[in-house]
Symmetry: C2
DNA sequence: CGGAATGTTGATATGCCTCAACTAAAGTGG
DNA sequence: CCACTTTAGTTGAGGCATATCAACATTCCG
């Protein structure tokens, strides 16, 4: 599938200027397709993978499992994201990776990537930047989950998901796919299902958004972003996206 | 100062095997010394630095500033850490960097580093790994601040600081420097000063640790680590350290 | 169509925040 | 080196956001 390369290149271009040579080099990477069923683990804590993945369709998530069995979602990944790029240089997984819904990913052997980095350093730098933006998102998540009350936290979270979906060209008519249950959102935001449910209703009543049938409908971006103190700077995109509506 | 190079190499070796050639290449890097007063900002949100830093002495912290003016500490850095390595590939700072106490850092021009990466890719990979471990620590912080109650959160935090201090050879007679106020610890853990103070007393009463005069005294590592569910795997050190006592 | 997963609502409990007063320690200038 | 000021730590009381428990409604799915 050439499409994996398209998606991969589109994503990298959101934050990095790629030369023709870079693009050609990326297209030369051998990629295998892998699909996963909803809730299927792609990689588990403790694993030592020898490939990295690029998400093609669907949503993939990273999570920690606590001794109690509870789950903490760390990040959600959509088309073009590299949810386990860190396995290139960090041998053992300190968290797990699972598909949220039916998802397809492209897998690329570490060997191929490392060889390419030596030959074309700028590709390595682009993917390095990818992992650094990942880290910036983690930092923002720390602040979001530590300092904001649940309604604002949820607003910020939804803004981020929507904004990133837009960059990945997944927004259509003011809505984007978001096939998470409210319980899962709670497991990402460090809040109980009940509290998420009430926060969701509060945001809906404000007329800022609607969330149903696995989609997020944006109703008033400015209001939602303000309420969640969302400023997309930390996503480090080259062109800032116009917020729709 | 040759000492900056020693500290830098010692830290990289904690997670990466360096060849003689790698070490020599690192020692060839031109480094300038910079010192900072307590609470002085080294880099501010929005800045676009053209150097990166390695901490030599003291403690340096990354933090977000919220619209209200409140501060969220994101990470704390000691000897050998690269607190702003991400500026190599992410132009604009999405957070700030300040000295906690009197600190000295070595600054290295991005230009020198990038040139070295092209010439000796393995150095780039080592520093890439450094930034990836940083990200792993951020992930752990998300889980810590989202899922654990304040006393356990504090225990986990103190274990991490102590463990990393030990790797940086800063532990002496069962104690390490930790020149943070309880208020600052609260700003890291998303808890109020009052609550931190009470949690601190609870941990002390358990006989697990003592915290005073800018130092953390470890009294019962096993108990503290168990209470905080601390498992150092996410720090990705090559040799795991024996927990003292 | 029936069962399971997900979402909704209400009631109660509690961990943590906020405010406030006070104590102890550290830093500073005379 | 001591009086003074500032900063950091401690303790108590009250209120609130969020967790927990429980029942029920709705949607999904085989």
């Amino acid at each position: 599938m050439a499409r994996v390369h398209d998606v991969m290149i589109h994503k990298l271009k959101e934050h990095t200027a790629l030369s023709r040579k870079d693009e050609a080099a990326l297209r030369s990477l051998p990629v295998k397709l892998r699909s996963a069923a909803p809730a299927e683990d792609l990689v588990r804590q403790g694993d030592q993978p020898d490939v990295s993945m690029v998400v093609l369709t669907g949503m993939v998530a990273r999570y920690h499992t606590l001794p109690s069995g509870a789950r903490q979602y760390l990040s959600f990944h959509i088309a073009g994201d590299w949810p386990d790029a860190q396995t290139l240089f960090v041998d053992k997984m300190d968290h797990s990776l699972s598909a949220i819904n039916a998802a397809t990913v492209g897998t690329i052997a570490h060997k191929s990537l490392l060889a390419l980095f030596e030959r074309v350093p700028s590709i390595g730098f682009a993917i390095w930047r990818e992992t650094l933006i990942d880290a910036a998102i983690f930092r923002e998540t720390i602040t979001n989950n530590s300092k904001r009350n649940v309604p604002a936290r949820l607003a910020h979270f939804l803004c981020e998901q929507y904004y990133r979906a837009q960059a990945a060209q997944l927004v259509k008519d003011g809505s984007c796919p978001l096939e998470l249950s409210q319980e899962q959102i709670g497991e990402a935001l460090g809040a109980s299902l009940t509290t998420i449910n009430r926060a969701m209703q509060a945001l809906r009543r404000k007329g800022t958004m609607e969330f149903r049938l696995g989609r997020l409908y944006m109703r008033n971006w400015a209001r939602l972003a303000e309420f969640g103190q969302f400023d997309p700077g930390y996503l480090h995109l080259r062109r800032s996206l116009r917020a729709p509506k």
